[in-house]
C-alpha cells in the first residue's frame, strides 16, 4: 500500500499537515495547473497503514483519510515487484 493525494480533489487547505502523527504531509511549494498548492509527501514509507495494513488486516490510523475534507487522500495498491523504500525512525 502507498499513500496518494488526488490532485483533482485537493483544495490545498493543509489540514493533513496538521493531523498526521508522523508529519508525512508537508506544505507544497508550487501551485499546480489549477492554482492550488497541493501538499507533498515527506518519506511516505513511514506511514503505519502503508507498512502494516496487510499484516493486521485492518485500517490502522487513517486519520489523514478521515480528516481530509475533500476526500483527496487514499491508499493505492503497489505494482507487483515495485521496489520498496525502508525508513527507520530513531
Amino acid at each position: 500500500m502507498k499513500l496518494a493525494i488526488d490532485e483533482t480533489r485537493c483544495k490545498g487547505c493543509n489540514l493533513c499537515t496538521k493531523v498526521c502523527p508522523y508529519k508525512i504531509f508537508r506544505e507544497g511549494k508550487k501551485p499546480n495547473r489549477r492554482g492550488i498548492v497541493v501538499p507533498e509527501l515527506d518519506r511516505p514509507e513511514r506511514c503505519a497503514n502503508c507498512r502494516l495494513q496487510k499484516l493486521y488486516g485492518r485500517r490502522l490510523c487513517g486519520i489523514c483519510e478521515l480528516t481530509c475534507p475533500d476526500q483527496a487522500i487514499h491508499w493505492v495498491e503497489e505494482e507487483p515487484y515495485e521496489p520498496h523504500k525502508v525508513a527507520i525512525e530513531y
Binding site: K11, C13, L15, T17, L66, C68, P69, D70, Q71
Partner: protein, 262 residues
C-alpha cells in the same frame, strides 16, 4: 468496503470551501454507516438547507434535500412511512437551532429512531456569515459587528432536556471519536443527536482572527473539555472554564423509542 464507496464519485470534488470541516464530518459519518452493514437501498439521508445540508447530494443513497429547518419533519415522515429504512439526518446549526428549533424539540420528545448529525459551524455560512443562535458571545459576524451580545445556544443540553436517547458532542479535530460516537448513535434505538463542532474558515474564521484553517482547528482542540474532566472539576468544586465547551458522550439512556423496526 470503505466509506469511499458511499460517495458519488462523479459529483466530487464538492463545493465546500477549502478547509471546510463539513467534508470531514461526512467522512466520519459514512465510516460509521459503513460499519453498520446497511444496504444502500435501505438507508436514507435527509437534510435541510445550508452548507452542511448539501452533504446528501454527494452520497450514493436515497436522499431528501428539503425545506429550511424541516429536515427532521421530513425524516419523521420517512421513518413513519417505512420503519425498515435507516434514517440519518444532516443539519447545520442554523437549520436545526434557528428555524427548525421546534421540530428538533419535538423529534427529541417523540424519540424517533434516527440519527441526527449537526455540523455546528457557529455561523450562517452559506448566506454570508450572519450570526446564528450558536455564535458564541463576543464573536464577530456580519450581523454582530461589535461582537455577539447574546449567550449561545447549547444544542446538546437542549437535546438532553427534550429527551433524546443518545447525545454526544465532538469536533472536526476528533475524527476517530466522532466516528465512534456516530456509530454508537446509529446503534442506539431512538433519537441520537451528535453535535460536531466544525471550522468555517470563509465566514467565521476570517472575521475572528483565525487566518489559517489550522488556527481554528487548533482553537477547537484547545477549547474542548472532556466530560470526565468536567465532572472531576465539578466534584472538586473547581471552576469550569467559561470559554470551553464539553465534548464526549453526554447522555445514553433507553427511553421508549418510536418507529423502531420490529
Amino acid at each position: 468496503m470503505t466509506f469511499e464507496d458511499w460517495f458519488r464519485k462523479d459529483r466530487l470534488p464538492h463545493i465546500f470551501c477549502a478547509g471546510c470541516g463539513n467534508g470531514t464530518i461526512i467522512n466520519c459519518t459514512l465510516a460509521a454507516v459503513d460499519q453498520m452493514d446497511w444496504k444502500k437501498e435501505e438507508t436514507v439521508f435527509v437534510s435541510g438547507i445550508g452548507c452542511s445540508s448539501r452533504a446528501p447530494g454527494y452520497i450514493m443513497t436515497d436522499s431528501l434535500h428539503t425545506t429550511h429547518g424541516r429536515a427532521l419533519a421530513f425524516a419523521t415522515g420517512v421513518k413513519m412511512a417505512n420503519r425498515k429504512l435507516n434514517v440519518v439526518v444532516f443539519t447545520g446549526d442554523g437549520d436545526l437551532a434557528a428555524i427548525g428549533g421546534n421540530h428538533f424539540i419535538h423529534a427529541c420528545r417523540r424519540n424517533i429512531d434516527m440519527t441526527v448529525v449537526c455540523m455546528n459551524n457557529q455561523i450562517y455560512g452559506m448566506t454570508g456569515g450572519q450570526g446564528s443562535p450558536t455564535t458564541p458571545r463576543g464573536y464577530l459576524s456580519t450581523t454582530t459587528p461589535y461582537g455577539s451580545a447574546e449567550p449561545a445556544f447549547d444544542l446538546c443540553d437542549l437535546a438532553i432536556a427534550a429527551g433524546a436517547n443518545y447525545v454526544a458532542r465532538w469536533t472536526s479535530y476528533h475524527v476517530k471519536e466522532l466516528e465512534k460516537a456516530v456509530l454508537a448513535g446509529l446503534q442506539t434505538p431512538g433519537l441520537s443527536f451528535i453535535e460536531a463542532m466544525t471550522q468555517c474558515p470563509t465566514n467565521f474564521g476570517r472575521r475572528n482572527k483565525f487566518r489559517q484553517v489550522a488556527d481554528q482547528v487548533e482553537f477547537l482542540k484547545k477549547h474542548s473539555l472532556l466530560k470526565v474532566k468536567r465532572d472531576r472539576l465539578l466534584l472538586e468544586n473547581k471552576e469550569v472554564p467559561a470559554d470551553m465547551f464539553v465534548v464526549g458522550e453526554l447522555v445514553r439512556r433507553s427511553r421508549p423509542a418510536m418507529g423502531v423496526s420490529p
